[in-house]
């Protein structure tokens, strides 16, 4: 699987390429600025890109802008954003085109390499991965709303994991229950929130995130 890495700090870039190489990724390019990233994304057309939000030249959200620009020209180009901070605003902008194949994670998540690599593969496969912090903020904002308040505690856990972009199998593993139990919960959640049920994992995530007003 070919991957483009964009990160301006040498140590982190080096660490990321090593980690990805160790997990059988092919590094198509490792760049350190937004213009280079945009060129690499458009020229190399990687299977997935791992991008730091804050990049030179202006050290603002250049990485995000470059990724959005590339996705405008190549719709659905898989991009996983990494950042020291997660902002609902940026999550919204990534999700706005409804094309999926996006991820938005705190840099800390790199510490757990298995989960991190899983997330990259999910994004590369067209899935959506949101950082738990984004999801908890979304849920916190809607906690007082009537339909969310009607969910049971377990259903809320499932909803949060669904919004993070996990499949039923992953949720079952995480909550130590059977996949059948999870699918019962998801059906119940979709009924309570008045959403149309969907078998497609990615469309399900997008529906949930849209419901949470992300």
């Amino acid at each position: 699987m070919r991957v483009v890495v964009a990160e301006d700090l040498f140590l982190l870039r080096d660490g990321l390429t090593r980690l990805l190489s160790a997990h059988d990724f092919e590094i198509a390019a490792a760049v350190d600025s937004a213009p280079d990233l945009l060129c690499a994304l458009l020229d190399k057309r990687p299977d997935v890109a791992v991008v730091d939000v804050r990049l030179p030249p202006s050290f603002a959200d250049d990485g995000l802008q470059a990724a959005l620009a590339a996705r405008q020209q190549v719709p659905g180009l898989p991009v996983l954003l990494l950042s020291q901070y997660v902002e609902q605003l940026y999550a919204r902008e990534m999700l706005a085109d409804q094309a999926g194949a996006v991820g938005y994670l705190l840099k800390d998540r790199v510490f757990n390499d298995d989960q991190f690599v899983d997330a990259i593969r999910t994004v590369a496969a067209g899935g959506t991965v949101m950082d738990p912090e984004v999801v908890s903020k979304l849920l916190g904002r809607r906690a007082r709303d009537e339909p969310i308040a009607r969910l049971s505690g377990r259903e809320r856990d499932v909803l949060a994991l669904m919004a993070e972009g996990r499949s039923n199998a992953a949720i079952a593993q995480r909550l130590f229950v059977t996949e059948k139990a999870v699918s019962k919960h998801t059906t119940s959640i979709f009924t309570k929130l008045g959403l149309a049920p969907s078998e497609d994992d990615n469309r399900r995530v997008l529906a949930v995130l849209a419901y949470l007003n992300c």
């Binding site: 250049d62 020291q84 901070y85």
Partner: protein, 596 residues
């Protein structure tokens, strides 16, 4: 006939609909004629009411409760004093309430004397009729008592029994040949050459029966309408607040013009020109602030001259003194001793004027004539010094907070991390299982340290603000707020970083207040930039009662904005709604872009 009535009714209804509630100002103003009689004041009031009701119906509607309350209070004063004289009740009424009985008699007599003197300026006619309050002019013969009271004016007065036309007089009209029994109810003074007209002095017996309920009714109506009008005005007033605050900071001495003009009423008495001065004072203050500041010492000097004149006049007379008493500032001069005291008061006025001259006229003259520092420049320097102090204070406090946060948070966690790793080093050969647990703990600690640093950085300079500027940062802030926030943001470019940061934290503070203290259900944020001025409004529908003077949060915001010549104004009546308006003068720059 019926058709005519119908047409008339329709016309009136349409007129009333067009003018709105403001149309009621005219009948209310007309009531003043009933209370005070037909004289230049009341005629002017009615004419003014008609003009305002037709040209500025909204303003007329907002003036209505004030007019009702004023009329009600005037009516109550009239009932209390039993006096219908427009020209002197303002002087006499406080005396009636404050002074002992015996003094009141003197005061009333003197007041009548003054009145006759001023009104007639030559031989006039005085009519004495009916019954009146006990304290008013007792004695066997009211005409004699009057003469006694007139003092210096006595020689010019002839007292006649003439029925003045415009007043509905009581039946009993007295002539000098038939002196009245009992008390005097009404004195009608027919003017002479200087002031044609009349002034009536009527007791409750004559008009009080209707006056008291009427006055109470007007007062109640006015008070009932006041909250409505205030609520309607609040929107306008909040919009004006930053402008007013700016004016007040710029014209600190000009503000004094208004109280000084009001003081003029008690120094020179209530005349057309003193009242006009009170009305003119705010106009001058708003349009020509420098002139207003210059006028303050001039007026004070005029007060002093008048005071010295009164004192000299009384001292020059041989004893016993027969002069009508004069009100001068806080002193009712009715003896030589009190005249001396008035002289002392005049000295105070003069001293205040002398103190103000170098600060107002002197400073302006300097600025105009020579290369001396401009007073406005000096004021600016002072303001800059103040705001710089605030800025330095704020920066120091902020640095200390950051230092403390780092010390207690990330730094402490890194120490713990180091200790953990050291323990792992020792355990690894002998107890690898326990070492593994410690490594997991160390990783957990590093995550917490990262979290601490993240929240610290967010407090120093929020990432979205750094990346995208104020508009997007406020959008992100609204997303993180557990309330529906309506945004109306129009910022075509970026502001300078310090202004952006100050405005961002100001909005965050206002928003946090709305969530935490006001218990609001909805917040509205509006940001605009026009003519080099950034204007931010944060409105919520919460409980209100926010006071920047008490809460340190809004006060800190005000100081921080002050560094950029920004202004914060809060309108937050108890019960809400709260509106925080900020204005910061600043420029916009165009946003940056890049391409492949």
């Amino acid at each position: 006939m019926w058709m005519m009535l119908k047409v008339l009714y329709r016309f009136l209804a349409r007129l009333l609909h067009q003018l709105g509630r403001g149309a009621w100002l005219v009948p209310v103003a007309t009531l003043s004629m009933l209370l005070f009689g037909i004289n230049p004041w009341t005629v002017a009031a009615v004419a003014g009411a008609v003009v305002v009701a037709v040209r500025l119906p909204v303003m007329a509607a907002s003036l209505l409760p004030a007019a009702l309350v004023t009329l009600g209070i005037c009516g109550l004063v009239l009932v209390a004093t039993g006096s219908g004289a427009t020209a002197t009740w303002a002087v006499a009424a406080p005396a009636v309430w404050l002074l002992p009985r015996s003094f009141q008699q003197v005061n009333m007599q003197v007041a009548v004397g003054k009145l006759v003197q001023r009104m007639t300026g030559g031989p006039g006619r005085v009519v004495v009729v009916g019954r009146g309050p006990r304290f008013f002019l007792p004695g066997p013969h009211p005409a004699a008592a009057l003469k006694q009271g007139f003092g210096a004016a006595r020689s010019q007065i002839t007292i006649n029994a003439v029925r003045p036309r415009p007043l509905p007089l009581p039946k009993q009209v007295l002539s000098p040949a038939h002196p009245p029994r009992g008390q005097v109810a009404a004195i009608v003074i027919h003017g002479g050459s200087r002031f044609p007209g009349f002034v009536s002095w009527q007791g409750p017996g004559a008009r009080g029966g209707v006056l008291l309920p009427l006055a109470l009714l007007l007062l109640t109506l006015g008070l009932l309408l006041t909250p409505q009008v205030l609520a309607g005005l609040r929107g306008h007033v909040t919009g004006m607040l930053p402008w007013l605050r700016r004016r007040m900071l710029e014209n600190r001495w000009g503000i004094l013009l208004i109280p000084v003009a009001v003081l003029g009423l008690s120094v020179f008495g209530v005349h057309l020109w003193t009242v006009a001065a009170v009305i003119a004072a705010p106009v001058v203050l708003i349009w020509w602030p420098a002139l207003a500041a210059d006028l303050v010492p001039v007026l004070l000097t005029a007060f002093a001259v008048r005071g010295f004149g009164i004192a000299a006049h009384w001292q020059a007379l041989p004893l016993p003194v027969h002069l009508p008493s004069t009100l001068y500032g806080a002193i009712l001069v009715s003896s030589r001793q009190l005249a001396l005291l008035a002289g002392g008061e005049a000295c105070l006025f003069l001293a205040a004027a002398a103190w103000l001259v170098p600060r107002t006229i002197g400073a302006h003259a300097h600025g105009m004539l020579a290369s001396q520092p401009d007073p406005e420049l000096a004021g600016r320097v002072q303001r800059l010094t103040e705001t710089r102090d605030h800025a330095v204070d704020a920066a120091t406090t902020e640095l200390r907070r950051i230092e403390r946060d780092l010390h207690d948070g990330a730094q402490a966690r890194l120490v713990a991390l180091g200790m953990n790793l050291r323990a792992v080093e020792r355990m690894l050969p002998g107890r690898p299982d326990a070492a593994l647990a410690l490594v997991a703990e160390a990783r957990e600690t590093s995550l917490r340290a990262l979290n601490d640093l993240r929240s610290l950085v967010r407090g120093i300079y929020p990432p979205v603000l750094a990346d995208r500027g104020l508009g997007h940062a406020v959008r992100a802030l609204a997303l993180d707020t557990p309330l529906p926030v309506d945004l109306d943001i129009d910022l075509p470019g970026r502001l300078t970083a310090p202004v952006e940061s100050a405005c961002y934290f100001a909005i965050a503070e206002a928003l946090a207040n709305a969530v935490k203290h006001a218990g609001a259900r909805r917040v509205h944020i509006r940001i605009r930039h026009a003519d080099g001025m950034l204007r931010i409004e944060v409105a919520d529908d919460g409980a209100g009662g926010a006071d920047p003077a008490q809460g340190s949060g809004l006060r800190g915001v005000e100081r921080r904005l002050g560094t950029f010549d920004g202004i914060l104004a809060v309108s937050s009546p108890a019960g809400g709604p709260t509106m925080v308006v900020m204005e910061v003068p600043c420029a916009l720059s165009s946003p940056k872009t890049f391409s492949c």
